[in-house]
């Protein structure tokens, strides 16, 4: 927190003075999400999703701990205990629907958070570490969600586990032993179910730890903002509390309205009917599809249908799927444009709205569709653009593009002024 005008925590009574001396937790909270954290005054509603993601994590941990009190990770009874939760446990149906739909809403919120980052180049210096930790959180979330979906031990649980662990089988030589080791058997069974439960319980707390690092790293440079121009003076900021607590409170209300509408009236809409059939190792569902939040990456996995020289198609798909996320780690160094916000980058903006967003839409759609034409060909084109966008277009655009003039400061952007900033000035640190 490098802003000299940030207000300092002052303990008012004996108890808070005692706490401040012995364990300055109130001071930490005050500086992190209280009045002691100056935040750009111009954040849009796209900046709500960080707090909402944190809320989702808490929601998932609370409902998850409750469900774990009634669930048994044993292949013989897992499906039955899930139904026991739905039928007999007091409010069990609500807890389970809250958890299942909570996972979906967590991903909706996090995807919006990530794409906010793409548009406003939130990954750029001095915020690389925040971005890297964020990608780590996303990877952990994917692992957690995948293992969680296995737990009810329905048909999709079982076959999802089989297909995803089967991906490791694509790795040359060591693939198959790794697959057997991961499952603790030759197909998903008790051993796999038990370890998935154990890890599904553990990982959210690991995520919570990385989230703390993510927020810590955020407080070093402070929040970015829609102009991408760094904070220059106190006038550019408002204290987090009450300004953004109030704004996030309203955002949380809207989020909860949508979430509860889903939970109480369409709780199975985002799920798959086949997962209400108990796992049967002898019968495969007609279409195996993962949960919707994996569809873009599943589409990329399936886009590679023929061997590429000496690389088998399956291995190529696995490589591409992992590369599709790993490429995000390199964004801060791939996109070298000195301007952050997409608002002032005409060329980047076009590629974002007319390239990346439609591509993601196609990948989402095709990942959930059966593996037949035209979906396979569509996802192949979309996959090609996906890699071109991040690895070729972004680096090239940042050297070709001529950005539009930036506002001199955040205050000027808010209040309006004729004075325009010189390009590059925005990159100077705040203090």
């Amino acid at each position: 927190m490098s802003f000299p005008w940030a207000s300092q925590y002052e303990p008012k009574n004996g108890l808070t003075k005692f706490l401040d001396e012995k364990l300055p937790l109130p001071r930490l909270v005050y500086g992190a999400i209280g009045a002691g954290y100056p935040v750009p005054r111009n954040l849009s509603y796209m900046w709500n999703f960080g707090v909402l993601a944190g809320f989702c994590l808490v929601l998932q941990i609370v409902t998850g701990v409750v469900l774990a009190m009634h669930y048994a990770p044993n292949a013989l009874v897992a499906f039955g205990t899930t139904e026991h939760i739905m039928r007999d446990v007091n409010w069990g149906w609500m807890m389970r629907y809250a958890h299942a739909n909570g996972a979906s809403f967590f991903f909706i919120v996090v995807y919006l958070h990530i794409f906010r980052g793409f548009f406003y180049s939130s990954y750029k210096a001095p915020r690389e570490m925040i971005w890297l930790l964020g990608v780590v959180i996303f990877l952990l979330m994917m692992a957690t969600a995948f293992m969680g979906y296995v737990l009810p031990w329905g048909q999709m649980s079982f076959w999802g586990a089989k297909v995803i662990t089967g991906l490791f089988g694509a790795i040359p030589v060591v693939g198959e032993p790794i697959q057997v080791w991961l499952l603790g058997g030759f197909a998903p069974d008790n051993a796999a179910l038990n370890r998935f439960f154990s890890l599904h319980f553990l990982l959210p707390f690991v995520i919570a730890g990385v989230v703390i690092l993510h927020i810590w790293a955020l407080h070093i440079p402070g929040s970015s903002n829609p102009t991408g121009v760094e904070i220059k003076t106190e006038a550019d900021t408002v204290p987090f509390h009450p300004y953004y607590t109030a704004k996030d409170g309203f955002g949380l209300g809207v989020f909860l309205l949508l979430y509860c509408a889903m939970l109480f009236f369409l709780p199975n809409y985002l799920g798959h009917p086949d997962n209400y059939i108990e796992a049967n190792p002898l019968s495969t569902p007609a279409h195996i599809v993962p949960e919707w939040y994996f569809w873009p990456f599943y589409a990329i996995l399936r886009a590679f249908t023929v061997d590429f020289f000496f690389i088998p198609a399956k291995l190529m798909g696995v490589l591409a799927m992992f590369a599709a996320i790993l490429v995000w780690f390199f964004l801060p160094w791939l996109d070298k444009s000195p301007v952050r916000s997409g608002h002032y980058r005409p060329m980047f903006r076009k590629f974002f709205w007319f390239g990346l967003i439609p591509t993601m839409a196609v990948l989402f759609y095709c990942g959930g569709a059966p593996a037949e034409e035209p979906f396979v060909m569509l996802s192949q084109l979309a996959t090609a653009y996906y890699f071109l966008h991040f690895l070729v277009i972004l680096p090239l655009v940042s050297s070709i593009e001529k950005p539009e003039p930036l506002p001199y400061s955040i205050t000027e952007a808010v209040l309006g002024s004729d004075k325009k900033a010189v390009l590059g000035e925005n990159t100077t640190p705040a203090v």
Partner: protein
């Protein structure tokens, strides 16, 4: 719900002057209070999910056919996942129980008070020692029935008499007689 929005639009707030200040404070307090009420409401299901579930509650009463129990014999049944002793007393055991001066007992109760009318020989008690919850011996054939010929808890040496009343040892009270009734001459319904 919808009609309340009409009274507090931002426009009316802005034009209220001094009165508006108070109303604006009121809105902040109301918003925070609502958040608080919501948080408390969420706690209710979180607490109640730990209470017994429907399948557990459904098994909270048990029917037992007592016709096959011979005098002097006892059976161990299960009531709410805990042992239940059902004993048919011999006339000698009844006489022994009735011969004790009730006032001298640690937990004064007569045998008649501990059985149902017309079924003085049918002693139904929980098989849970009132000291620390061990299962007393004496229900099965050949087990130690203690110094008073009823039940004996081996954990800390509590002796119960033929009416399952505490006579010696650390237990503070007689073996509990659960709520039960005779649904017919031969069947009891516990719970």
């Amino acid at each position: 719900m919808a009609d309340t929005t009409g009274t507090a639009t931002p426009e009316t707030l802005a034009s209220h002057g001094e009165d508006g200040v108070r109303r604006r404070d009121f809105i902040n307090i109301a918003a925070v209070s609502f958040a608080g009420v919501g948080a408390v409401a969420v706690v209710l299901p979180l607490v109640s999910q730990m209470a017994p579930s429907a399948d557990v509650l459904a098994e909270s009463s048990t029917e037992i056919d007592v016709s096959s129990i011979e005098a002097g014999q006892a059976i161990k049944a299960v009531f709410r996942k805990q042992p239940l002793f059902v004993r048919r007393l011999t006339p000698a055991e009844i006489a022994e129980a009735d011969s004790v001066a009730v006032s001298s007992l640690r937990d004064p109760e007569t045998l008649a008070e501990r059985t149902k009318e017309g079924h003085l020989d049918m002693l139904v008690t929980m098989g849970v020692c009132t000291h620390l919850g061990c299962v007393p011996l004496g229900a099965a054939e050949g087990e130690n029935r203690g110094e008073f010929g009823g039940y004996f808890c081996p954990c800390h040496g509590s002796h119960y008499d033929t009416a399952a009343r505490i006579r010696k040892g650390p237990a503070p009270a007689n073996l509990v007689v659960p709520d039960y009734e005779f649904t017919s001459d031969t069947v009891i319904r516990v719970g």
